[in-house]
């Protein structure tokens, strides 16, 4: 029985590896943009936070969110990647957590759409879905500057008041490096 998780993990890794291999040959398919298989991205986001549900609705400045992501391509057509990273909130609040999700580049341009989740774990928990739309601009070989409009809605967690939700819409600026 103990081998089943190992076999399952090996299967998942082989599938991901196969996808990565496909993506490695993506340059043969898409000559317009040299997309990385693995990219690292440092980001900073700021915008509007909102709260609502039972009681009054609130709009206010969001925290400043710093995040560092690892983005790994898994499918070439459309170019799709999995990203995971850490997120830290500052400016009026201190919190730390993680974000993860999928990014899709539906066209041959740098337009990218993302969906996933955010989980803040310290000092209190907050979890909810996130979605973003944005693009990147190639500044140099293996260096991109990216901008995304990202929305997150926290729906559960000890940091969320009872019968309320909290969210934020942020303009996120990132610097991406092609790692591989």
């Amino acid at each position: 029985m103990a081998r089943r998780p190992t076999l399952a993990l090996a299967l998942v890794l082989s599938v991901i590896g196969g996808m990565a291999d496909r993506s490695a040959r993506a340059d043969d398919v898409d000559q317009t943009i040299d997309r990385p298989i693995i990219a690292l991205e440092g980001r900073i986001g700021y915008g509007m936070a909102f709260g609502g549900g039972a009681g009054v609705s609130v709009e206010r400045w969001s925290p400043v969110t710093f995040s560092a992501l690892v983005d790994h391509a898994v499918v070439t057509d459309p170019w799709t990647s999995v990203f995971v990273g850490v997120a830290v909130e500052g400016h009026g609040r201190g919190a730390a957590g993680a974000i993860a999700g999928l990014r899709v580049r539906p066209t041959s341009s740098q337009l990218r759409l993302a969906g996933g989740g955010a989980l803040m774990v310290f000092p209190a928990t907050a979890f909810g879905p996130l979605a973003s739309v944005g693009t990147c601009i190639a500044m140099a070989t293996a260096l991109d500057v990216c901008g995304d409009l990202e929305a997150t809605v926290f729906v559960v967690g000890s940091d969320i008041p009872d019968e309320r939700i909290a969210g934020q819409i942020q303009l996120v600026i990132g610097v991406g490096f092609d790692a591989w």
Binding site: T32, I33, D34, Y46, G47, M48, A49, F50, G51, A54, G55, V56, S57, V58, E59, R60, W61, G92, R93, G94, A95, S109, Q110, L111, P123, A124, A126, G134, T135, I137, A138, M139, A140, T141, A142, G147, D148, L149, F154, S158, D159, I160, P161, D162, E163, R164, A166, G167, I169, Q170, L171
Partner: protein
């Protein structure tokens, strides 16, 4: 495309994002005094359904283990702005104690935060 500087399409996207970001940053009628999450409130306070930071249940029960003494005007939904940190300070300093916080509150003017704090500090010095 990689290696090129900003092209027309990139500039367009960048301009759009800057415009949207500026609108978010300046055009929203914000209510900064209200909260959306508990973590936006000072330690010991929680974000209520009315989106205001109010003293949390632990901090409001100054007496601790014996059921304690609630701080007037807070647990019942009254304003807490006049008591910025006093009850929290008291709760943190005297966990499980049996101090009668209401006596301290009554002894200090509710419209003067520093005086309230001073009263608590003085009381704890002598406790």
């Amino acid at each position: 495309m990689r290696g090129e500087l900003l092209g027309p399409a990139g500039l367009g996207w960048l301009a759009a994002l800057v415009v949207v970001g500026a609108a978010l940053a300046t055009g929203v009628a914000c209510t900064p005094d209200l909260c959306t999450r508990h973590s936006e409130c000072p330690v010991g306070y929680t974000c209520s359904a009315t989106a205001q930071c109010e003293i949390g249940p632990d901090a409001a029960i100054a007496g601790g283990g014996d059921g304690g003494t609630t701080v007037p005007g807070n647990v019942d939904g009254g304003p807490i702005a006049d008591l910025p940190d006093a009850a929290v300070l008291l709760d943190a300093a005297l966990p499980g104690g049996d101090l009668d916080a209401s006596a301290v509150i009554d002894a200090a003017p509710l419209d003067a935060g520093p005086e309230v704090d001073a009263a608590f500090l003085s009381l704890m010095d002598n406790y």
